[in-house]
Amino acid sequence: MLIIKNLSSGYYQDKKYHEVIKDINLTVGENEIIGILGPNGSGKTTLLRAIMGEIYSSSGDIIYNGQSIFEKGNYSEFRNNAIYVKQDSFNSLKPLKSINFQIGKLYDWKSFDENYVKSLFSELSLDPAILQMKALQLSDGMRHRVVIAMALLKEPKILMLDEPTTGLDSISTYKLLKILKEIKKKTSIIISSNDVNALFEIADRIYIMYNGMVIEDANFNDLLKCRFHPYTDMILKYVPLYSNKNLVYRPVKNDRHGGCVFINSCPYINNECENDIPYKNINGHGYRCIRYPGWKDDKNN
């Protein structure tokens, strides 16, 4: 449904272009939850903004239902079908106004089908009584769910959420993730997050980003079984969970220049890694590491 092809994007600063994300390939199918996982600063938000066409893309293409959104006429069609919920929109409800009021505003004060709103809210296990409440009276978790429900009122085909679970406690996170599973029946979802745990609980396919590049992508199950990139392997191994209590992490620091984006933190480097690393693919499992599968046999693994 949505195909991102070799996309590179960035920002203008002092009339100079700074590229932030490079050569991104990503596919979103119908009713699929796509997870974008990576540390802060890896380019996740830039990628979402580039997909929305909010920022300049220096190369590549975005194909929506077979047509490039960069071609005349197609962009507005795409914009009508894709909604991007920025990270700070989770805090952007007017605290003293009722949810009903905020929904009215969403429809530019034209009349809207209140029954539809109510039924959508109940479908997402949100008590329609919430509609009468002021945003201030909602808990953090409730507010996040309401913002997402409101985004759905426009019946998007693609819903993009930037760090939707940030700031939520475990129980609220769980409830939010459950709602997303429900929503997936109506729309495709792209979620960016640095929370390994939350993403693997719901995403169907996960793209791992590092320094502006996708370094691995696969079905969540394939990733749980086998990692092709050392960075993915590291973030799935060193998760601060009770079950990992006695695990010791010894960070690596190399001093190399160029080549692989992970070169200075990778325990498995050799001279090949200073070259440009192509993105390869084995049965739908993509990766950007020149030493796979060789590194799996290294002594320090």
Binding site: G41, S170, V196, V239, L241, Y242
Partner: protein, 245 residues
């Protein structure tokens, strides 16, 4: 040792026209936070975690009950240090990393070399960072700096209230491991809403719900044989990448 006895903090909340009722942020709690271990406190938003942290570290004096530091109501200057969730509170945005390290060293009479070592123990290179202004750092880097400043005086205790919330998982894993390695010299009170992270870091865990400690025990007992239904719920809902919703 920090001991709290019958600690209560209540607010008046408006429930109608001219009607108010009491809301207990902390409801008559008594316990002990031991030395040389990591004491973990967890519970949902609004359970009273931050209120408790504010009181123990001396920022909030409006409560009833008692807080004793080594059996005394007064605490020595460098007895306890607090790292807030929001690093903006304790850092000066328009000063450099070096300014922060120097100032903290001078104020606490410690030599700069040992402060720099502490900074570098958070896995940031001092030479790379010294001349950077705080407002150019990422959230995670700011939180590491705020942590460094808190441990510069070698306090007996540090209280961390969601103080690593902006770190990505690998850095979080690293920082929690660092806490484990310093706990014999600096005792830790670690507050986090995720019971799994708390269990990863802590030796002993307190479960807070609605202003009360509903269960406390050593980590293995809490995680393997929780008694309270709410504790069981926290464990069940805690995100874990090996589970599927």
């Amino acid at each position: 040792m920090i001991k709290i006895i019958n600690l209560t903090k209540k607010y008046k909340i408006k429930t109608g026209n001219f009607r108010y009722s009491d809301f207990y942020a902390l409801d008559n709690i008594s316990t002990i936070f031991k030395e040389n271990i990591i004491n973990g406190i967890t519970g949902s938003s609004g359970s009273g975690k931050t209120t408790l942290a504010n009181i123990i570290s001396g920022y909030d004096r409006d409560y009833s009950g008692e807080v004793l530091y080594d059996n005394s109501q007064e605490k020595k200057y460098d007895y306890i240090r607090y790292v807030f969730q929001d690093p903006y509170i304790s850092l000066n945005m328009v000063k450099t990393v070096e300014w922060h390290i120097m100032t903290a060293s001078e104020l606490n009479n410690v030599d700069i070399e040992s402060s720099i070592k502490k900074f570098e123990s958070t896995r940031l290179d001092y030479d790379d960072y010294r001349s950077k202004y705080v407002n150019t750092l990422s959230g995670g880097e700011m939180q590491k700096l705020a942590f460094t400043i808190a441990i510069i005086p070698d306090p007996k205790y540090i209280v961390l209230d969601e103080a690593f919330s902006m770190l990505d998982p690998i850095n979080l894993f690293y920082m929690l491991s660092l806490l484990k390695s310093i706990r014999k010299t600096i005792s830790v009170i670690y507050i986090d809403h995720d019971i799994n992270r708390v269990a990863f870091a802590s030796d002993y865990i307190y479960i807070l719900n609605k202003g009360r400690i509903i269960e406390e025990n050593d980590t293995d007992t809490i995680m393997n044989k929780p008694e309270n239904e709410y504790t069981k719920k926290l464990i069940e809902y805690s995100p874990d990448y090996k589970k599927r919703i």
